[in-house]
Structures are given as C-alpha cells and as structure tokens.
Amino acid sequence: MAKKKTSAPKPSAPKASSDVDGDLVRKLAKLLEETGLTEIEYGRDSWYMRVAKGSRIAAPIPAVSPAPSAGASRGEPAADAPEDDLSGHPGAIASPMVGVIYHAPEPGAAPFVRVGDQVKPGQTLFLIEAMKVMNPVAATAAGRVARILVANGAPVEYGEVLALIE
C-alpha cells in the first residue's frame, strides 16, 4: 500500500565499509582469510573498528564531525596535536594574555632564563607586551626550565604554552 508517513518512515539503511584503496582492500582481505572472520569494518578520521564472524548485521559508524573548516576545505595540513598536548603538562607555563613575548628585559640584554636553568616561584621568565605595557610572566613553581616554546618577539595568544618547568 502507499505508505502514509503516519505509519511508515523507514529506518536508516544498512551499510558496509567503502572508499578504501586497493592495497587496503588486499590487506583486509588477507586478514579475513587469516583470522576466519566474515567481516571487518574499519573507520577513519575518528577511528572505528568492527570485526564479525558468521552473521552480517547493520551497525553505525560513529558520527564524525562534519564541521567545515577553512583548513580542511582547502586541503591544507590539519594537525598541531603535539603543541596542544603540552597544555596538559603539569609544568606548563601558559600565556596569561594576548601579546608579544620577550625573553629579555630589553633588546640586547641577557634572557631572563635559559633552558636548563633552575627557577623559583615568582621568578620572571618572560615579558609580554600588550597595549604597549610590559607584563611579566612568572614561574608558578620551582624547577628546571625544560623547554622554551616560543621565540623572542613572537606573538602569543591566551593560554598558549610558553615554557615547561620540570
């Protein structure tokens, strides 16, 4: 009968994995053979894996975020994960403001700290210039300067990791 929508919109379709290159297909085929599985699904972008034996069923690949992005849409590289990871580092010194960072009190002077230096809490590590005012960035704990992550004179944004103290 004609399906009135009061009774019969259809649930979504079953699906299988698709869109893989030949080598990948061959590799998966070989794995099927080797393991005696009847099915392997495999995801991309936000990882997914599914293996099955015997029956064939429908299962969703978890939704990947379809958000547009200037980078992605232009096919440009899209990862600075390592940089992001540092924000979770216990000794990370994050920028308290947007501005330009300086390693030394004035041009030509020695830097406040160098990698390897021991620092005390409250010791000035950098200056950040914002709106023509120099703001000191101080160490929050004692330790050794393990890494300095921004170059002298570089612009920094809020929360950007400037250095690691260990």
């Binding site: 939704a63 403001m97 947007v98 809020y158």
Partner: protein, 451 residues
Amino acid sequence: MFEKVLIANRGEIALRIERACREMGIATVAVHSTADADAMHVRLADESVCIGPPPARDSYLNAQAILSAAAISNADAIHPGYGFLSENADFATMVEEHGFTFIGPTRDHIRLMGDKIAAKQAMKEAGIPCIEGSDGPVPDEDAAVVAADKIGYPVIIKAVAGGGGRGMKIAHSRDDVRSFYKIASAEAEAAFGNGAVYIERCLLNPRHIEIQVLADNHGAIVHLGDRDCSLQRRHQKVLEEAPSPAINQSERAAIGKIAVDAMRAIGYHNVGTIEFLYEAGKFYFIEMNTRLQVEHPVTEMICGLDLVREMVRVAWGSPLGYTQEDIRFHGHAIECRITAEDPLTFQPKPGRVASYHAPGGLGVRVDSALYAGYRVPPYYDSMIGKLIVHGASRNECLMRLRRALGEYVITGMDTTIPFYQRLLAEPAFVNGTYDVHWLGHYISGTKPGPG
C-alpha cells in the same frame, strides 16, 4: 580595501561577517575564548587568536585582548558584530586610537545614542516623531487636564523620578486624569520621595517597527525599509519580518524619508536602526541602535543588499554608489531566532549537537555556526542559528517557513524549532495582527488584556 579584518565576536554573526569578508577577498582573524576553540567561526577564519577564558568579560568583552590580537595579527579593521563591544563608544575610540578602523558608526554617534535621554532629544530635534508628552512635570490637576487634552486620550501619568510601574496610571478621560493625578503623585512621593508626575500618550497595543538606515562618509544616505519585530518575549525579539504587515507603502516611504532626513541632520555614518513603537498610524521613537542587528537578514532578503559588505565598504570610505530610488523591495522575509532552549519553557539548555541537517532549496537561508558534534557552550547567548525565508508574498513566505522548519534537523539537544512550528498555527501570527504584547500572552497562556 582592507586586507585583513578582525571580527570581535563569536557564533553566527562572526561567521556572517567572515563570509562577507571572504567574498570581498579580505582575510579574517577570529578571536575566541578557550570555550570556543572548536567553534565554526574559528574553524572558518583565516587566522584565529585565543583571547581569554570562557567568561565574556575576560574574552569577548576584553577590549585590551582584542586590540592586542588585532596588533599581533596585523589586522586593518575591527568589526564588532552585535552585542559585546558593538555599542561601546570607549571601545570604538580605543580601536581608532590604536590605528585600526572601527567598522561601524562614529564613536560620537554611538555615545549619543547610548544616552537614552540625549538620544531622544537629538532625534526629536532631527524631526523623528517621539511620543507626545507634557514636556516636564505638570504642577496640578488642571495643568494635567490641559496637557492630556492636548495629547489625546488615553494618556499615562508617570512619576518623573519613577520606574517599575509605581506612580503610573492610565487615564482614558478627563475624569480619569482628575481622579488619578493625586493618587499617582502620592504614590510617586511615597516611592521616590518626589511627587512630580508628567503625562505622555499611552500606547495600548503598539507594534515594534524599525527602520534600517545606511550612510556612507560622503553624505549619501538611504533607508532599507522597515522590519516588524513585535513578536517579543521579555523584551527579546523572537521573530522578525520585513516588511511589516501593519504598514502600507506610503507609510513606509514617509517614515523612511523622515529617518533619512534625521540621519542627514545628525551626520550619521554606516548602518543604524531607528526603533519605533507604532500604533494607530503613528510612529513613536524608542531608541536607535548604532550597529548591525540580529535581524538584518530580512532586510537583505527583500532589498537584495549584503549589509555587512556595505558596512565594510562604507567604513573603508567607499561611496554607496546608489540612491534611495535604486532601492527596491521584493517580496517578504521572515527570520526565526533558533535558540538552545526548551521549546515550551524557554529554559536555556546548552548541549551537544548529535546530528545537524539544515533545510535547503529555494528561498531558504540559514545563518548558523552549528555543526554535528558541536557542543554549545553554556557561557553565552542561547541563540544557535537563524532561519530566514523569503517569498514573493507574505503567505508564500509563511508556507516556506513551515516547510523549512519541518526539514530542519538538530538532534541531541532542545531547540525552539517546535515553538516556531506551533506559532505557525496561530491566527494572530498568520494574519499579522499581533502587537508587542501578544507573544507574551501566547506563551504564558493568558488572554491579552483589554485594549
């Protein structure tokens, strides 16, 4: 033309401005709080700068951080969007003093219109109709009656020092004025220590109708017609349409001309909106907004202009290049402000968008920064998108709105889409007979009060 514009805003309006800049070949800088690192306006901009933690006062209202971001990204100009710092004359001043162009009106006009008493005075002098009143306190009953007779009934007797309804009485006749004068004065004395009262025309069932103006820096000024924003909940606009179903072509032209003349008189630049109450064929000035408005798309749809592009062009110093006679209005447009709120109680409910599918096809425009997987942060306004439809007639527009709302899929969180679907079944909306009080009564389930 500007090479790079910093957008000092977030959400759909940041995206809206980015789109306009991109279409003009201008690079964009997005600023964002840490809560918005994954926001669409950040993803789609050419560059982004994190300017602070989630609270708006530390990020989107942090003028210093925004100016630092403009400095380190070498932006030429700053577009403030709406809300946040858009009507902050001090911010506009700082922007200019740091050598950037502020894409909006002059700081002086922002300041003038930000002072509601000075604004009313200036607009009155510039020929904008304001509400008739006694021009100061009335000393006694007889003076009150004289003033009320001159204004016409009903009138409202208000405490000069007042607010909040105390010392406020509506008088429908001379007898009422005589009866209520002393009561109002006594209430005012008791409440505010000042018994002085004044008299104004009382609007019972006004509509909110506003006029969009646009001016370049060379003396060219046009109005882009009217918008009807009478559907309000707690003084927040909920749905806007253009043109207003309540006024006709000649009223539109007349109030438009008055607006243009007033803007010329005060030397206004860039975009602005003059808001009026409208009742019984007359307009009464409320206030002027010296910025782009949320509801600007309905104007764009009926007059075929890109208002953000025009703002940028005019801020650069380009001439309008057209006159009032070149502005033509086509059809009808309606905008729904979709919010992350319970569609019955309007309680804000931020959450994660599980799936997202925007409506498409002829006459449908969606301005939204949502995407599947996006988490709506709890720190900011609950508006998550605007659905704008355009049709050859108001009826076609309503039918298209119904169709588009039915296609709009946002799962994983509550939105007000179902509210708008219900609204489309209400005769007062469909017939366009609503006033500024109607929606409040509709939502609370109460009957409108006596007219």
